[in-house]
Protein backbone atom coordinates (compact mmCIF):
# COMPACT_ATOMS: atom_id res chain seq x y z
CA UNK A 1 0.00 0.00 0.00
CA UNK A 2 3.04 2.26 0.32
CA UNK A 3 3.74 1.54 -3.27
CA UNK A 4 4.51 5.09 -4.40
CA UNK A 5 8.05 4.25 -5.38
CA UNK A 6 7.70 0.67 -6.60
CA UNK A 7 7.23 0.23 -10.34
CA UNK A 8 3.76 -0.41 -11.69
CA UNK A 9 3.17 -4.14 -11.56
CA UNK A 10 0.33 -4.17 -14.08
CA UNK A 11 1.24 -6.64 -16.76
CA UNK A 12 -0.98 -4.94 -19.29
CA UNK A 13 1.46 -2.69 -21.02
CA UNK A 14 3.83 -0.05 -19.71
CA UNK A 15 2.40 2.88 -17.78
CA UNK A 16 3.31 6.17 -19.43
CA UNK A 17 4.39 7.58 -16.07
CA UNK A 18 4.51 6.67 -12.41
CA UNK A 19 1.04 6.73 -10.82
CA UNK A 20 0.53 8.66 -7.63
CA UNK A 21 -0.88 6.91 -4.62
CA UNK A 22 -4.23 8.62 -5.11
CA UNK A 23 -4.43 7.55 -8.74
CA UNK A 24 -3.62 3.99 -7.78
CA UNK A 25 -6.51 3.85 -5.34
CA UNK A 26 -8.69 5.66 -7.80
CA UNK A 27 -8.07 2.87 -10.28
CA UNK A 28 -8.39 0.07 -7.78
CA UNK A 29 -11.38 1.66 -6.03
CA UNK A 30 -14.15 0.20 -8.22
CA UNK A 31 -12.88 -3.31 -7.55
CA UNK A 32 -12.88 -3.08 -3.78
CA UNK A 33 -16.58 -3.26 -2.82
CA UNK A 34 -17.13 -6.47 -4.77
CA UNK A 35 -13.83 -7.98 -3.69
CA UNK A 36 -14.34 -7.26 0.00
CA UNK A 37 -17.93 -8.52 -0.14
CA UNK A 38 -16.87 -11.85 -1.62
CA UNK A 39 -14.00 -12.22 0.85
CA UNK A 40 -16.35 -11.54 3.77
CA UNK A 41 -18.91 -14.11 2.66
CA UNK A 42 -16.70 -16.92 1.39
CA UNK A 43 -13.14 -16.72 2.72
CA UNK A 44 -13.95 -15.75 6.31
CA UNK A 45 -16.49 -18.56 6.75
CA UNK A 46 -13.97 -20.99 5.32
CA UNK A 47 -11.32 -19.85 7.81
CA UNK A 48 -13.87 -20.49 10.56
CA UNK A 49 -14.40 -23.98 9.15
CA UNK A 50 -10.68 -24.61 9.45
CA UNK A 51 -10.82 -23.31 13.04
CA UNK A 52 -13.79 -25.54 13.96
CA UNK A 53 -12.02 -28.54 12.50
CA UNK A 54 -9.49 -28.28 15.34
CA UNK A 55 -12.16 -27.85 18.02
CA UNK A 56 -14.12 -30.40 19.98
CA UNK A 57 -17.45 -28.86 19.14
CA UNK A 58 -20.97 -30.24 19.26
CA UNK A 59 -23.96 -27.92 19.11
CA UNK A 60 -25.94 -30.19 21.44
CA UNK A 61 -23.24 -30.13 24.13
CA UNK A 62 -22.70 -26.49 25.05
CA UNK A 63 -19.90 -27.49 27.44
CA UNK A 64 -17.97 -28.96 24.51
CA UNK A 65 -15.20 -26.90 22.97
CA UNK A 66 -11.49 -26.49 23.21
CA UNK A 67 -8.60 -27.41 21.01
CA UNK A 68 -8.37 -31.09 20.08
CA UNK A 69 -5.56 -30.99 17.57
CA UNK A 70 -6.04 -33.40 14.71
CA UNK A 71 -8.55 -35.60 16.58
CA UNK A 72 -11.42 -34.63 14.26
CA UNK A 73 -9.35 -35.42 11.20
CA UNK A 74 -8.42 -38.78 12.70
CA UNK A 75 -12.06 -39.52 13.50
CA UNK A 76 -13.23 -38.55 10.01
CA UNK A 77 -10.51 -40.34 8.07
CA UNK A 78 -10.94 -43.45 10.21
CA UNK A 79 -14.72 -43.44 9.78
CA UNK A 80 -15.83 -46.17 7.34
CA UNK A 81 -18.91 -44.06 6.57
CA UNK A 82 -16.64 -41.25 5.40
CA UNK A 83 -14.67 -43.58 3.16
CA UNK A 84 -17.95 -44.92 1.82
CA UNK A 85 -19.01 -41.33 1.08
CA UNK A 86 -15.74 -40.69 -0.78
CA UNK A 87 -16.26 -43.79 -2.90
CA UNK A 88 -19.88 -42.85 -3.66
CA UNK A 89 -18.82 -39.32 -4.60
CA UNK A 90 -16.24 -40.64 -7.04
CA UNK A 91 -18.68 -43.14 -8.59
CA UNK A 92 -21.53 -40.63 -8.86
CA UNK A 93 -19.36 -37.87 -10.26
CA UNK A 94 -17.44 -40.02 -12.72
CA UNK A 95 -20.63 -41.76 -13.89
CA UNK A 96 -22.68 -38.61 -14.33
CA UNK A 97 -19.87 -36.54 -15.88
CA UNK A 98 -18.80 -39.19 -18.40
CA UNK A 99 -22.35 -40.10 -19.39
CA UNK A 100 -23.39 -36.49 -19.87
CA UNK A 101 -20.16 -35.66 -21.69
CA UNK A 102 -20.60 -38.48 -24.20
CA UNK A 103 -24.29 -37.71 -24.75
CA UNK A 104 -23.51 -34.00 -24.89
CA UNK A 105 -20.86 -34.55 -27.56
CA UNK A 106 -23.22 -36.62 -29.68
CA UNK A 107 -25.94 -34.01 -29.40
CA UNK A 108 -23.57 -31.14 -30.11
CA UNK A 109 -22.47 -32.88 -33.31
CA UNK A 110 -26.12 -33.40 -34.30
CA UNK A 111 -27.02 -29.79 -33.56
CA UNK A 112 -23.98 -28.35 -35.30
CA UNK A 113 -25.62 -29.16 -38.63
CA UNK A 114 -28.42 -27.19 -40.18
CA UNK A 115 -31.83 -28.91 -40.13
CA UNK A 116 -35.45 -27.92 -39.91
CA UNK A 117 -36.35 -26.66 -36.41
CA UNK A 118 -32.82 -26.73 -35.04
CA UNK A 119 -33.54 -23.79 -32.71
CA UNK A 120 -36.59 -25.58 -31.32
CA UNK A 121 -34.63 -28.77 -30.68
CA UNK A 122 -31.92 -26.81 -28.88
CA UNK A 123 -34.56 -25.13 -26.74
CA UNK A 124 -36.12 -28.51 -25.88
CA UNK A 125 -32.69 -29.91 -25.13
CA UNK A 126 -31.60 -27.27 -22.65
CA UNK A 127 -34.83 -27.38 -20.66
CA UNK A 128 -33.79 -30.22 -18.28
CA UNK A 129 -30.86 -28.09 -17.20
CA UNK A 130 -33.18 -25.22 -16.29
CA UNK A 131 -35.68 -27.22 -14.23
CA UNK A 132 -35.18 -26.50 -10.53
CA UNK A 133 -33.06 -29.47 -9.32
CA UNK A 134 -35.41 -30.14 -6.41
CA UNK A 135 -38.40 -30.28 -8.77
CA UNK A 136 -36.44 -32.49 -11.17
CA UNK A 137 -35.60 -34.89 -8.35
CA UNK A 138 -39.24 -35.14 -7.28
CA UNK A 139 -40.34 -35.60 -10.87
CA UNK A 140 -37.96 -38.52 -11.39
CA UNK A 141 -38.70 -40.08 -8.04
CA UNK A 142 -42.47 -40.08 -8.48
CA UNK A 143 -43.20 -40.09 -12.21
CA UNK A 144 -40.20 -41.85 -13.73
CA UNK A 145 -38.76 -44.29 -11.18
CA UNK A 146 -41.87 -45.38 -9.27
CA UNK A 147 -41.97 -49.22 -9.19
CA UNK A 148 -45.68 -49.36 -10.06
CA UNK A 149 -46.67 -46.10 -11.75
CA UNK A 150 -43.32 -44.96 -13.16
CA UNK A 151 -42.98 -44.26 -16.87
CA UNK A 152 -39.64 -46.09 -17.10
CA UNK A 153 -41.28 -49.32 -16.00
CA UNK A 154 -44.16 -48.72 -18.36
CA UNK A 155 -41.65 -48.40 -21.21
CA UNK A 156 -39.76 -51.60 -20.37
CA UNK A 157 -42.74 -53.67 -19.20
CA UNK A 158 -43.48 -55.02 -22.73
CA UNK A 159 -40.13 -56.81 -22.35
CA UNK A 160 -41.41 -58.47 -19.20
CA UNK A 161 -39.16 -56.47 -16.84
CA UNK A 162 -40.16 -54.35 -13.88
CA UNK A 163 -37.57 -52.67 -11.72
CA UNK A 164 -37.68 -50.92 -8.39
CA UNK A 165 -35.19 -48.35 -9.67
CA UNK A 166 -34.36 -46.38 -6.53
CA UNK A 167 -34.12 -49.39 -4.22
CA UNK A 168 -32.40 -51.83 -6.54
CA UNK A 169 -30.10 -49.42 -8.39
CA UNK A 170 -29.78 -46.38 -6.11
CA UNK A 171 -26.49 -45.05 -7.50
CA UNK A 172 -27.55 -45.60 -11.09
CA UNK A 173 -30.85 -43.83 -10.43
CA UNK A 174 -29.03 -40.74 -9.18
CA UNK A 175 -26.51 -40.88 -12.04
CA UNK A 176 -29.32 -40.98 -14.62
CA UNK A 177 -31.05 -37.93 -13.15
CA UNK A 178 -27.77 -36.02 -13.01
CA UNK A 179 -26.88 -37.03 -16.57
CA UNK A 180 -30.33 -35.89 -17.73
CA UNK A 181 -29.78 -32.49 -16.11
CA UNK A 182 -26.14 -32.00 -17.13
CA UNK A 183 -26.12 -33.29 -20.72
CA UNK A 184 -27.50 -29.94 -21.94
CA UNK A 185 -24.66 -28.12 -20.20
CA UNK A 186 -22.05 -30.31 -21.91
CA UNK A 187 -23.89 -29.96 -25.20
CA UNK A 188 -23.89 -26.14 -24.99
CA UNK A 189 -20.15 -25.91 -24.27
CA UNK A 190 -19.22 -28.40 -26.99
CA UNK A 191 -21.59 -26.77 -29.47
CA UNK A 192 -19.89 -23.44 -28.77
CA UNK A 193 -16.60 -25.21 -29.47
CA UNK A 194 -17.81 -26.68 -32.76
CA UNK A 195 -19.21 -23.38 -33.94
CA UNK A 196 -16.01 -21.52 -33.15
CA UNK A 197 -14.10 -23.60 -35.73
CA UNK A 198 -12.76 -21.37 -38.47
CA UNK A 199 -14.88 -22.24 -41.55
CA UNK A 200 -11.92 -21.64 -43.90
CA UNK A 201 -10.02 -24.54 -42.37
CA UNK A 202 -12.97 -26.91 -42.72
CA UNK A 203 -13.48 -25.71 -46.28
CA UNK A 204 -9.80 -26.26 -47.06
CA UNK A 205 -9.98 -29.80 -45.67
CA UNK A 206 -12.94 -30.53 -47.91
CA UNK A 207 -11.19 -29.15 -50.94
CA UNK A 208 -8.21 -31.35 -50.12
CA UNK A 209 -10.57 -34.31 -50.27
CA UNK A 210 -10.74 -35.19 -46.56
CA UNK A 211 -13.83 -37.23 -45.61
CA UNK A 212 -16.04 -36.30 -42.64
CA UNK A 213 -14.33 -38.84 -40.35
CA UNK A 214 -10.86 -37.69 -41.30
CA UNK A 215 -11.85 -34.04 -40.85
CA UNK A 216 -13.24 -34.81 -37.40
CA UNK A 217 -10.13 -36.72 -36.34
CA UNK A 218 -7.50 -34.32 -37.59
CA UNK A 219 -9.20 -30.93 -37.33
CA UNK A 220 -12.39 -30.90 -35.25
CA UNK A 221 -11.20 -33.11 -32.41
CA UNK A 222 -7.95 -31.23 -31.71
CA UNK A 223 -9.89 -27.96 -31.78
CA UNK A 224 -12.57 -29.42 -29.53
CA UNK A 225 -10.11 -30.82 -27.00
CA UNK A 226 -9.90 -27.66 -24.96
CA UNK A 227 -13.67 -27.46 -24.86
CA UNK A 228 -13.93 -31.10 -23.80
CA UNK A 229 -11.47 -30.40 -21.00
CA UNK A 230 -13.39 -27.35 -19.89
CA UNK A 231 -16.72 -29.22 -19.96
CA UNK A 232 -15.17 -32.11 -18.05
CA UNK A 233 -13.71 -29.89 -15.36
CA UNK A 234 -16.65 -27.55 -14.87
CA UNK A 235 -19.02 -30.53 -14.91
CA UNK A 236 -16.90 -32.27 -12.29
CA UNK A 237 -16.79 -29.20 -10.07
CA UNK A 238 -20.56 -28.72 -10.21
CA UNK A 239 -21.51 -32.41 -9.96
CA UNK A 240 -19.12 -33.19 -7.07
CA UNK A 241 -21.25 -30.78 -5.03
CA UNK A 242 -24.52 -32.64 -5.75
CA UNK A 243 -26.89 -32.40 -2.82
CA UNK A 244 -30.44 -31.76 -4.00
CA UNK A 245 -31.00 -35.01 -5.88
CA UNK A 246 -29.68 -37.14 -3.02
CA UNK A 247 -31.65 -35.27 -0.37
CA UNK A 248 -34.87 -35.62 -2.35
CA UNK A 249 -34.63 -39.03 -3.99
CA UNK A 250 -32.76 -41.38 -1.64
CA UNK A 251 -31.89 -39.47 1.55
CA UNK A 252 -28.46 -41.02 1.12
CA UNK A 253 -29.86 -44.55 1.22
CA UNK A 254 -30.79 -47.29 1.09
CA UNK A 255 -28.41 -47.66 4.02
CA UNK A 256 -25.46 -45.52 2.97
CA UNK A 257 -25.56 -46.49 -0.70
CA UNK A 258 -25.92 -42.96 -2.08
CA UNK A 259 -24.43 -40.84 0.71
CA UNK A 260 -21.90 -38.59 -1.01
CA UNK A 261 -19.56 -36.11 0.69
CA UNK A 262 -21.88 -33.08 0.72
CA UNK A 263 -24.68 -35.22 2.13
CA UNK A 264 -22.32 -36.84 4.67
CA UNK A 265 -21.19 -33.44 5.95
CA UNK A 266 -24.79 -32.27 6.07
CA UNK A 267 -25.71 -35.29 8.21
CA UNK A 268 -22.75 -34.76 10.55
CA UNK A 269 -23.48 -31.08 10.99
CA UNK A 270 -27.23 -30.76 10.98
CA UNK A 271 -28.43 -34.17 12.15
CA UNK A 272 -25.66 -35.22 14.54
CA UNK A 273 -24.51 -31.63 15.29
CA UNK A 274 -20.91 -32.85 15.25
CA UNK A 275 -19.56 -29.49 14.14
CA UNK A 276 -15.90 -30.37 14.64
CA UNK A 277 -16.01 -33.53 12.58
CA UNK A 278 -18.21 -32.00 9.91
CA UNK A 279 -15.74 -29.12 9.62
CA UNK A 280 -12.80 -31.50 9.33
CA UNK A 281 -14.62 -33.39 6.56
CA UNK A 282 -15.31 -30.05 4.87
CA UNK A 283 -11.63 -29.12 4.94
CA UNK A 284 -10.70 -32.51 3.48
CA UNK A 285 -13.21 -31.94 0.66
CA UNK A 286 -11.76 -28.50 -0.06
CA UNK A 287 -8.24 -29.91 -0.16
CA UNK A 288 -9.39 -32.51 -2.68
CA UNK A 289 -11.32 -29.91 -4.69
CA UNK A 290 -8.21 -27.75 -4.75
CA UNK A 291 -6.38 -30.38 -6.74
CA UNK A 292 -9.13 -30.39 -9.37
CA UNK A 293 -9.43 -26.62 -9.14
CA UNK A 294 -5.77 -25.95 -9.85
CA UNK A 295 -6.11 -27.99 -13.00
CA UNK A 296 -9.38 -26.25 -13.89
CA UNK A 297 -7.83 -22.83 -13.47
CA UNK A 298 -5.00 -23.81 -15.80
CA UNK A 299 -7.44 -24.89 -18.50
CA UNK A 300 -9.60 -21.77 -18.16
CA UNK A 301 -6.45 -19.71 -18.08
CA UNK A 302 -5.24 -21.16 -21.38
CA UNK A 303 -8.55 -20.29 -23.03
CA UNK A 304 -8.30 -16.86 -21.55
CA UNK A 305 -4.75 -16.25 -22.74
CA UNK A 306 -5.91 -16.34 -26.33
CA UNK A 307 -8.20 -13.40 -25.75
CA UNK A 308 -5.49 -11.01 -24.54
Amino acid sequence: MTAQTTPDTARGGPAPRELTRGERWGRRGPLLPGLLFVIALTQIPFLFTVYYSFQDSNLLRPESGGFTGLANYGAVLGDPLFRNAVLNTVLLTAGAVLLSLVLGLGLALLLDRAFLGRGVVRTLMITPFLVMPVAAALLWKTSMYHPVYGLLNWVISPFGVRVDWVNDFPLLSIVLVLAWQWTPFMMLILLAGLQSQPPEVLEAARVDGAGPLETFRSITFPHLRRFLELALLLGTIYIVQTFDAIYMITQGGPGQATTNLPYFIYLQAFRAFEVGEAAAAGVVVVAATLVIAMFALRVVSSLFEEES
Partner: protein, 268 residues
Protein backbone atom coordinates in the same frame (compact mmCIF):
# COMPACT_ATOMS: atom_id res chain seq x y z
CA UNK B 1 -31.75 -34.99 -48.08
CA UNK B 2 -30.69 -38.64 -47.47
CA UNK B 3 -28.39 -39.01 -44.45
CA UNK B 4 -28.74 -35.31 -43.52
CA UNK B 5 -32.49 -35.73 -43.12
CA UNK B 6 -32.02 -38.83 -40.98
CA UNK B 7 -29.61 -37.03 -38.62
CA UNK B 8 -32.01 -34.10 -38.30
CA UNK B 9 -34.76 -36.53 -37.40
CA UNK B 10 -32.49 -38.20 -34.85
CA UNK B 11 -31.79 -34.81 -33.24
CA UNK B 12 -35.54 -34.23 -33.00
CA UNK B 13 -36.15 -37.63 -31.39
CA UNK B 14 -33.43 -37.13 -28.77
CA UNK B 15 -34.56 -33.55 -28.09
CA UNK B 16 -38.13 -34.69 -27.51
CA UNK B 17 -36.96 -37.58 -25.30
CA UNK B 18 -34.98 -35.22 -23.10
CA UNK B 19 -37.87 -32.79 -22.91
CA UNK B 20 -40.52 -35.41 -22.24
CA UNK B 21 -40.18 -35.65 -18.42
CA UNK B 22 -40.71 -31.88 -18.20
CA UNK B 23 -43.75 -32.11 -20.43
CA UNK B 24 -45.05 -34.97 -18.27
CA UNK B 25 -44.65 -32.86 -15.13
CA UNK B 26 -46.52 -30.03 -16.82
CA UNK B 27 -49.36 -32.32 -17.96
CA UNK B 28 -49.69 -34.10 -14.61
CA UNK B 29 -50.30 -30.75 -12.93
CA UNK B 30 -53.58 -30.53 -14.86
CA UNK B 31 -54.84 -33.98 -13.86
CA UNK B 32 -57.05 -35.20 -11.06
CA UNK B 33 -55.15 -37.15 -8.41
CA UNK B 34 -56.86 -40.37 -9.54
CA UNK B 35 -55.41 -39.86 -13.06
CA UNK B 36 -51.91 -38.92 -11.89
CA UNK B 37 -50.79 -42.33 -10.66
CA UNK B 38 -52.21 -45.04 -12.86
CA UNK B 39 -50.78 -48.12 -14.47
CA UNK B 40 -50.63 -47.77 -17.47
CA UNK B 41 -50.13 -43.99 -17.37
CA UNK B 42 -53.02 -41.73 -18.35
CA UNK B 43 -52.32 -39.80 -21.54
CA UNK B 44 -55.78 -38.42 -22.36
CA UNK B 45 -57.70 -36.53 -19.73
CA UNK B 46 -59.89 -33.52 -19.07
CA UNK B 47 -57.52 -30.77 -17.81
CA UNK B 48 -58.37 -29.13 -14.51
CA UNK B 49 -56.96 -26.18 -12.57
CA UNK B 50 -57.86 -27.77 -9.21
CA UNK B 51 -54.25 -28.60 -8.35
CA UNK B 52 -53.01 -25.10 -9.03
CA UNK B 53 -55.79 -23.68 -6.87
CA UNK B 54 -54.93 -26.14 -4.10
CA UNK B 55 -51.20 -25.30 -4.18
CA UNK B 56 -51.83 -21.58 -4.20
CA UNK B 57 -54.28 -22.06 -1.34
CA UNK B 58 -51.66 -24.01 0.61
CA UNK B 59 -49.39 -21.14 1.72
CA UNK B 60 -47.38 -21.28 -1.49
CA UNK B 61 -47.41 -17.52 -1.90
CA UNK B 62 -45.10 -16.60 1.05
CA UNK B 63 -42.47 -19.03 -0.29
CA UNK B 64 -42.85 -17.52 -3.73
CA UNK B 65 -42.35 -14.04 -2.33
CA UNK B 66 -39.26 -15.13 -0.38
CA UNK B 67 -37.80 -16.68 -3.52
CA UNK B 68 -38.56 -13.58 -5.56
CA UNK B 69 -37.03 -11.29 -2.96
CA UNK B 70 -33.85 -13.34 -2.52
CA UNK B 71 -33.39 -13.91 -6.28
CA UNK B 72 -34.18 -10.42 -7.53
CA UNK B 73 -32.33 -8.51 -4.80
CA UNK B 74 -29.25 -10.75 -4.90
CA UNK B 75 -29.15 -10.42 -8.68
CA UNK B 76 -29.40 -6.63 -8.49
CA UNK B 77 -26.73 -6.46 -5.79
CA UNK B 78 -24.41 -8.78 -7.71
CA UNK B 79 -24.70 -6.61 -10.83
CA UNK B 80 -24.16 -3.38 -8.89
CA UNK B 81 -21.00 -4.77 -7.27
CA UNK B 82 -19.77 -6.61 -10.36
CA UNK B 83 -19.97 -3.78 -12.93
CA UNK B 84 -17.33 -1.59 -11.23
CA UNK B 85 -15.22 -4.64 -10.38
CA UNK B 86 -15.33 -5.91 -13.97
CA UNK B 87 -14.55 -2.39 -15.18
CA UNK B 88 -11.47 -2.24 -12.94
CA UNK B 89 -10.42 -5.68 -14.19
CA UNK B 90 -10.76 -4.93 -17.89
CA UNK B 91 -10.70 -1.35 -19.13
CA UNK B 92 -8.50 -0.05 -16.31
CA UNK B 93 -5.10 -1.62 -15.93
CA UNK B 94 -4.93 -2.10 -12.21
CA UNK B 95 -1.96 -3.87 -10.65
CA UNK B 96 -2.39 -7.63 -10.33
CA UNK B 97 -5.71 -7.60 -12.16
CA UNK B 98 -5.24 -11.16 -13.31
CA UNK B 99 -4.86 -12.45 -9.76
CA UNK B 100 -8.03 -10.67 -8.66
CA UNK B 101 -9.94 -12.09 -11.61
CA UNK B 102 -8.86 -15.63 -10.77
CA UNK B 103 -9.64 -15.04 -7.12
CA UNK B 104 -13.30 -14.50 -8.06
CA UNK B 105 -13.30 -17.71 -10.08
CA UNK B 106 -11.71 -19.67 -7.24
CA UNK B 107 -14.56 -18.79 -4.85
CA UNK B 108 -16.90 -20.60 -7.23
CA UNK B 109 -14.76 -23.72 -6.78
CA UNK B 110 -15.10 -23.65 -3.00
CA UNK B 111 -17.76 -26.24 -2.09
CA UNK B 112 -20.77 -24.75 -0.24
CA UNK B 113 -20.43 -27.50 2.39
CA UNK B 114 -17.11 -25.95 3.41
CA UNK B 115 -18.79 -22.67 4.34
CA UNK B 116 -22.21 -23.67 5.59
CA UNK B 117 -21.33 -24.33 9.26
CA UNK B 118 -19.75 -20.95 10.00
CA UNK B 119 -22.45 -19.18 8.00
CA UNK B 120 -25.02 -21.02 10.10
CA UNK B 121 -23.28 -20.21 13.40
CA UNK B 122 -22.60 -16.57 12.47
CA UNK B 123 -26.18 -16.09 11.31
CA UNK B 124 -27.46 -17.73 14.50
CA UNK B 125 -25.33 -15.49 16.71
CA UNK B 126 -26.48 -12.40 14.83
CA UNK B 127 -30.10 -13.49 15.05
CA UNK B 128 -30.16 -13.63 11.25
CA UNK B 129 -31.18 -17.26 10.77
CA UNK B 130 -34.41 -17.77 8.87
CA UNK B 131 -34.06 -14.29 7.37
CA UNK B 132 -34.43 -13.62 3.63
CA UNK B 133 -31.77 -10.90 3.87
CA UNK B 134 -29.17 -13.46 4.97
CA UNK B 135 -30.06 -15.66 2.03
CA UNK B 136 -29.90 -12.63 -0.28
CA UNK B 137 -26.33 -11.85 0.79
CA UNK B 138 -25.22 -15.47 0.44
CA UNK B 139 -26.70 -15.67 -3.07
CA UNK B 140 -25.00 -12.42 -4.03
CA UNK B 141 -21.62 -13.85 -3.03
CA UNK B 142 -22.46 -17.10 -4.84
CA UNK B 143 -23.20 -15.22 -8.07
CA UNK B 144 -20.38 -12.66 -7.96
CA UNK B 145 -17.82 -14.76 -9.86
CA UNK B 146 -20.31 -15.41 -12.66
CA UNK B 147 -21.31 -11.76 -12.81
CA UNK B 148 -17.74 -10.41 -12.77
CA UNK B 149 -16.45 -12.83 -15.39
CA UNK B 150 -19.41 -12.42 -17.70
CA UNK B 151 -19.58 -8.64 -17.52
CA UNK B 152 -15.83 -8.47 -18.00
CA UNK B 153 -16.10 -10.53 -21.15
CA UNK B 154 -18.62 -8.02 -22.55
CA UNK B 155 -16.44 -5.04 -21.58
CA UNK B 156 -13.38 -6.51 -23.27
CA UNK B 157 -15.33 -6.74 -26.52
CA UNK B 158 -16.23 -3.04 -26.62
CA UNK B 159 -14.60 -1.40 -29.64
CA UNK B 160 -11.54 0.62 -28.65
CA UNK B 161 -12.49 3.59 -30.87
CA UNK B 162 -15.74 4.24 -29.03
CA UNK B 163 -13.96 4.47 -25.69
CA UNK B 164 -11.28 6.68 -27.23
CA UNK B 165 -13.92 8.98 -28.66
CA UNK B 166 -15.62 9.32 -25.30
CA UNK B 167 -12.31 10.26 -23.68
CA UNK B 168 -11.49 12.77 -26.39
CA UNK B 169 -14.82 14.43 -25.70
CA UNK B 170 -13.55 14.92 -22.18
CA UNK B 171 -16.08 12.64 -20.55
CA UNK B 172 -15.16 11.76 -16.97
CA UNK B 173 -15.13 8.21 -15.66
CA UNK B 174 -18.66 8.32 -14.35
CA UNK B 175 -20.11 9.98 -17.42
CA UNK B 176 -18.25 7.64 -19.74
CA UNK B 177 -19.69 4.72 -17.79
CA UNK B 178 -23.22 6.06 -17.71
CA UNK B 179 -23.65 7.38 -21.21
CA UNK B 180 -21.29 5.23 -23.29
CA UNK B 181 -20.40 1.91 -21.66
CA UNK B 182 -23.59 0.91 -19.86
CA UNK B 183 -25.91 1.44 -22.84
CA UNK B 184 -23.57 -0.59 -25.04
CA UNK B 185 -23.36 -3.58 -22.71
CA UNK B 186 -27.03 -3.42 -21.68
CA UNK B 187 -27.98 -6.68 -23.44
CA UNK B 188 -25.00 -8.38 -21.80
CA UNK B 189 -26.04 -7.06 -18.41
CA UNK B 190 -29.55 -8.40 -18.95
CA UNK B 191 -28.17 -11.82 -19.83
CA UNK B 192 -25.89 -11.79 -16.79
CA UNK B 193 -28.81 -10.83 -14.57
CA UNK B 194 -30.97 -13.65 -15.97
CA UNK B 195 -28.25 -16.21 -15.28
CA UNK B 196 -27.71 -14.96 -11.72
CA UNK B 197 -31.47 -15.11 -11.23
CA UNK B 198 -31.55 -18.73 -12.48
CA UNK B 199 -28.89 -19.84 -10.00
CA UNK B 200 -30.47 -18.01 -7.06
CA UNK B 201 -33.99 -19.21 -7.82
CA UNK B 202 -32.94 -22.87 -8.07
CA UNK B 203 -30.62 -22.82 -5.04
CA UNK B 204 -31.50 -25.36 -2.37
CA UNK B 205 -28.55 -26.17 -0.10
CA UNK B 206 -28.22 -22.78 1.60
CA UNK B 207 -32.00 -22.30 1.65
CA UNK B 208 -32.69 -25.56 3.45
CA UNK B 209 -29.90 -25.03 5.99
CA UNK B 210 -30.27 -21.32 6.72
CA UNK B 211 -34.06 -21.00 6.84
CA UNK B 212 -36.72 -22.65 8.95
CA UNK B 213 -40.18 -21.29 8.28
CA UNK B 214 -40.29 -17.51 7.83
CA UNK B 215 -37.72 -17.14 5.08
CA UNK B 216 -38.04 -20.49 3.27
CA UNK B 217 -37.97 -20.41 -0.50
CA UNK B 218 -39.79 -22.37 -3.20
CA UNK B 219 -37.40 -25.38 -3.28
CA UNK B 220 -37.89 -25.79 0.47
CA UNK B 221 -41.65 -25.69 -0.08
CA UNK B 222 -41.33 -28.62 -2.47
CA UNK B 223 -39.51 -30.64 0.20
CA UNK B 224 -42.78 -30.71 2.15
CA UNK B 225 -44.10 -33.09 -0.50
CA UNK B 226 -41.66 -35.93 0.16
CA UNK B 227 -43.36 -36.84 3.42
CA UNK B 228 -46.65 -37.55 1.66
CA UNK B 229 -44.95 -39.26 -1.29
CA UNK B 230 -47.26 -40.88 -3.76
CA UNK B 231 -50.35 -39.30 -2.35
CA UNK B 232 -50.51 -36.00 -4.18
CA UNK B 233 -48.69 -36.43 -7.46
CA UNK B 234 -50.85 -34.08 -9.44
CA UNK B 235 -50.58 -31.39 -6.80
CA UNK B 236 -46.83 -31.95 -6.55
CA UNK B 237 -46.55 -31.57 -10.33
CA UNK B 238 -48.53 -28.34 -10.29
CA UNK B 239 -46.26 -26.98 -7.55
CA UNK B 240 -43.10 -28.16 -9.34
CA UNK B 241 -44.28 -26.59 -12.58
CA UNK B 242 -44.88 -23.25 -10.88
CA UNK B 243 -41.49 -23.53 -9.16
CA UNK B 244 -39.60 -24.34 -12.35
CA UNK B 245 -41.43 -22.14 -14.84
CA UNK B 246 -39.81 -18.74 -14.11
CA UNK B 247 -36.34 -20.17 -14.67
CA UNK B 248 -37.34 -22.17 -17.74
CA UNK B 249 -38.68 -19.01 -19.34
CA UNK B 250 -35.65 -16.96 -18.26
CA UNK B 251 -33.33 -19.67 -19.59
CA UNK B 252 -35.09 -19.89 -22.94
CA UNK B 253 -34.78 -16.12 -23.24
CA UNK B 254 -31.09 -16.15 -22.28
CA UNK B 255 -30.04 -19.32 -24.13
CA UNK B 256 -27.65 -17.47 -26.43
CA UNK B 257 -25.71 -16.36 -23.37
CA UNK B 258 -26.19 -19.40 -21.15
CA UNK B 259 -22.92 -20.98 -22.15
CA UNK B 260 -20.99 -17.82 -21.43
CA UNK B 261 -22.43 -17.68 -17.93
CA UNK B 262 -21.98 -21.37 -17.24
CA UNK B 263 -18.37 -21.37 -18.32
CA UNK B 264 -17.82 -18.16 -16.35
CA UNK B 265 -17.13 -16.17 -19.46
CA UNK B 266 -14.32 -18.49 -20.55
CA UNK B 267 -16.17 -19.30 -23.79
CA UNK B 268 -18.10 -16.95 -25.99
Amino acid sequence: MGPGFGLGLLAWVVGVLFFFPVLWMFLTGFKQESQASTDPPTFWFEPTLDQYAAVLGRDFVPYLLNSLQASVLSTALAIVLAVPAAYALSLVRIPKWRDSLFFFLSTKLLPPVAMILPLYVIARNLGALDDVRTLTLVYTAMNMPIAVWMIRSFLVELPEEVLEAARMDGAGRIREMRSVILPMIAPGLAATALICFIFAWNEFFFAVNLTASQASTVPVFLVGFISGEGLFWARLSAASTMAALPVIIAGWAAQRWLVRGLSLGAIK
